[in-house]
């Protein structure tokens, strides 16, 4: 039915077709569908009615049943004569009650169900409660533990506070102590400065005194010189006869043919403060030197039985232990406890050299050969050889034991006596000991005989040993009953002719032995304290001895 009618109005065509559609789709069906819908609704309503009626029937049936029951019971109880209405009423009542009963039953069932539900719920709640209880217990326990912890912490805090307090107190106390100490320190400083001032003052005074002393000394010297000059001028004529008699010739080394033993103490002088450690005649015998623990070395003139102080050699910082003149009597060598050896010029009494290098006190020092070399023995267990040209140590010998004394022989070999009871022989050109001899006591001193053939050693076993240097063995032993060696540095010496040996004892007695006879020839008693050193005049007739307490004694028979 295509649109092929061109003349026909499209609008009319459309309305016509709409009508056709209306007829086809609507009017043909509207009645039918309405009817169907009506029927549908009717069926629904009838169904509902039917249900209602069925219910009503049921209800009536049950009512009937209950009525019948009541009629039966009523006929039994009231003989059946009861009024029908009442029966009906009762039946209705019964029915109502029954319904009520069923209702109640139902309710009971519901209640029972409810109870079950509730009990279930209760059980659940109880369970919950239990868990809650458990939790509560846990919480309580936790709380308790926390409380305990808190308490503990509190106590800790308290303790710490206490500690803090004590520390604070201590700090305060320390602070106070500190201020007090500071105050003290300040005072001490003040004292110190004051003392310093005083000390300086004293020093000044001392210097003044020293100057005065020097002036005085210089004057004395001048005077003595004048006197000497005057004397010399006066005694000009008597020189020659005097010369023949005198054993003391200036500048000439006297030759002793036989020593004579003095018997008298001719002169007694307080030489030093404290011990007089060393005393020694000069090679010519015109003067002698003493060294004491008062750090001084003194030179003395020996002039016909009189001892005159010639001068004091200063410079040592500790006590003098040993002295030695050079052969030309120009230099004096002194060993000191201040670890050094010193050389003074005899003529102008000036300090020439200080030989430092030992690490212990120097106990002995000797010229080696001519006056250009010096050997020293020290408590530091070494020997040192010094060259006086370079003023330095040229060799160090490690002796192994403290050296108490040493001597030189022929200007080439050194003999040292040691604390370990041995006498050691050294060649300065070799390092090792050439020889050694063991004795029975600590060696306190050594001396070479004038003929250079034997060695006199003094030991702490209170004997003197004479050792033959060629055979290296002891040939004589000198001892005495009351002879006791006083110190480790007590000295024994030969007489200038080599026939006697002399040593001082602890009790102040001077012993002189005849070496060949090995017996005491003479004892001289003038000292009241232990004798330290002694020296025999080169002429062989005068003896000097020094003791522990200031004194020196000159023995002579003039």
């Amino acid at each position: 039915m295509m649109d092929t009618i061109p003349g026909m109005d499209w609008k009319k065509l459309i309305s016509q077709r709409l009508k056709t559609r209306y007829k086809r789709e609507y009017s043909d069906f509207i009645d039918l569908i309405d009817t169907q819908n009506n029927l549908f609704e009717q069926v629904a309503s009838l169904k509902a009615r039917n249900v209602q009626l069925t219910y009503e029937t049921e209800k009536l049936k049950s009512e009937n049943l209950s009525l019948q029951v009541r009629v039966d019971s009523g006929s039994e109880s009231s003989g059946g004569g009861g009024s029908n209405e009442r029966v009906k009423q009762l039946e209705q009542k019964v029915y109502r009650l029954q319904e009520e009963l069923t209702e109640l039953h139902k309710r009971r069932g519901e209640n029972a169900q409810q109870i079950i539900d509730l009990s279930n719920a209760m059980k659940e709640k109880e369970k919950e409660l239990q868990t809650k209880d458990g939790k509560l217990m846990d919480a309580l326990a936790l709380e308790n533990s926390l409380k305990a912890e808190i308490k503990h912490l509190e106590s800790t805090v308290f303790e710490l506070e206490a500690t803090n307090q004590t520390l604070k107190d201590e700090h305060q106390a320390l602070q106070m102590a500190f201020t007090a100490l500071e105050e003290k320190y300040r005072k001490v400083q003040e004292d110190n400065s004051e003392l310093m001032a005083r000390w300086l003052d004293l020093k000044l005074k001392e210097a003044d005194k020293m100057n005065q002393e020097n002036d005085r000394f210089f004057k004395q010297k001048q005077e003595s010189l004048k006197r000497d000059l005057a004397e010399a001028a006066k005694e000009h004529k008597d020189i020659i006869p005097q010369e023949e008699n005198s054993v003391l010739l200036k500048g000439v080394t006297p030759i002793c043919l036989s020593a004579t033993l003095p018997t008298k103490a001719q002169c007694k002088v307080d030489a030093h403060d404290g011990e007089v450690n060393a005393i020694l005649w000069s090679p010519t015998g015109s003067l002698f030197a003493t060294g004491g623990s008062d750090r001084k070395v003194k030179l003395w003139d020996y002039n016909g039985g009189m001892c005159n102080s010639r001068g004091t050699l200063l410079g040592s910082n500790a006590g003098i232990t040993a002295l030695e003149f050079d052969p030309h009597e120009e230099l004096l060598l002194g060993a000191s406890n201040d670890y050094a050896s010193r050389l003074w010029s005899v003529r102008d009494q000036r300090l020439r050299h200080t030989l430092t290098g030992h690490s212990g006190k120097v106990l002995s020092a000797k010229f080696l050969g001519d006056a250009t070399k010096v050997v020293s023995g020290s408590h530091d267990r070494t020997l040192k050889i010094w060259d006086l040209h370079s003023k330095a140590c040229s060799k160090t010998i490690f002796a192994g034991s403290s050296c108490n004394d040493l001597v030189t022989l022929h200007g080439t070999s050194i003999i040292s006596g040691h604390f370990d009871k041995r006498v050691r022989f050294w060649d300065p050109r070799a390092d090792n000991t050439v020889n050694e001899i063991g004795l029975h006591g600590r060696i306190t001193s050594l001396d070479i005989s004038p003929d250079k053939a034997s060695l006199l050693a003094c030991t702490r076993e209170d004997t003197l040993k004479v050792i033959d240097l060629r055979m290296n063995q002891v040939i004589h032993t000198l001892c005495a009953d009351s002879f006791k060696v006083a110190f480790d540095w007590s000295r024994a010496v030969y007489s200038p002719d080599g026939s006697y040996a002399m040593a001082g004892s602890l009790d102040g007695t001077l012993y002189i032995w005849n070496i060949q006879k090995e017996k005491v020839e003479r004892t001289l008693k003038e000292h009241t304290h232990s004798i330290l050193d002694c020296s025999w005049h080169p002429s062989g007739s005068v003896i000097l001895s020094s003791e522990k307490q200031k004194k020196i004694v000159l023995w002579a028979d003039m």
Partner: protein
């Protein structure tokens, strides 16, 4: 003009008898009687099936009850097309009343949209209406309306009240003087293909009025060449030389769109005629 009003009225009154049958697979006990109902062509299915859904839901498994959906010969019904369009596309080849199967299970999510309430239908309707006005007046008219006018149109459609709907709709259909519609809002449906919608002016550039024929030749030229196609609007074949503007004014559905259905003349129908 009374003739035009008559046409408007008869289009509004167009109804189709529909037979709703519950799907055999979903019945659990007693088989319910099919329900017959006259449904307006211009409305949407969700607005008329509430009673049916309530009735038929008694006969199915409550646990499996899902959203209700309709099916015609195995094709799920798209609820957002007007019923007339759906019938012209799917049911016109069969006999009346139109048989539809009601389903409560296995909702075909990938083929049709969910419709959970009337509000969804309303928003869909209003959006289509606005789209149409955008094409016609660039939204000037619809935006000039009040909210209650929108509401009135919707309730008019819901309650099938011609007198309530049209006074408002008339304002959308008006064109003052030379100001014609900018474009004709139309949609062309073919069987199960997606609809065709294009911009088409009511007049040619020379000033001639376009006819339905012009539109179809513009939109679906290949279909116009064969002669075994039938063009339906509101269930009738509209003469092809009808002016398009008049059709748009009078033959549009309430959503202001001209829904044109093109169906192949089925062999069944032709054999019937034969």
């Amino acid at each position: 003009m009374s003739e035009d009003r008559g046409i408007l009225r008869s289009i509004w009154d167009g109804k189709i008898p529909v037979c709703f049958t519950l799907s055999q697979d979903e019945i659990i006990a007693e088989k319910p009687e099919p329900i017959y109902q006259m449904v307006p062509r211009i409305t949407y299915f969700p607005l008329v099936t509430e009673k049916i859904s309530k009735h038929l839901a008694q006969y199915i498994d409550k646990e499996k009850q899902g959203e209700m959906w309709l099916e015609c010969d195995g094709v799920p019904i798209k609820w957002h097309y007007p019923i007339g369009v759906l019938y012209d596309l799917l049911g016109s080849s069969g006999s009346l009343p139109w048989k539809l199967t009601v389903h409560f299970q296995d909702f075909p999510d990938d083929e049709i949209m969910h419709c959970l309430s009337r509000d969804v239908v309303e928003s869909h309707f209003m959006s289509t209406l606005k789209e149409a006005d955008a094409l016609k007046h660039r939204c000037n008219v619809i935006n000039g309306m009040q909210k209650k006018d929108h509401k009135q149109m919707w309730t008019g459609l819901c309650h099938d009240k011609f007198d309530q709907f049209w006074p408002i709709n008339k304002r959308l259909m008006e064109h003052t003087g030379d100001d014609l519609f900018k474009y004709i809002p139309f949609r062309i449906y073919q069987n199960d293909l997606p609809f065709i919608q294009k911009l088409f002016k009511p007049q040619s550039e020379e000033g001639h009025e376009h006819t339905l024929d012009d539109l179809l030749k513009f939109a679906v030229p290949e279909l116009m060449e064969s002669t075994d196609n039938t063009i339906f609007i509101h269930g009738i074949e509209v003469p092809l030389h009808s002016p398009l503007l008049w059709l748009s004014e009078h033959f549009s559905y309430p959503d202001n769109f001209l829904h044109i259905c093109i169906t192949q003349i089925s062999t069944q129908e032709s054999s019937k005629e034969w």
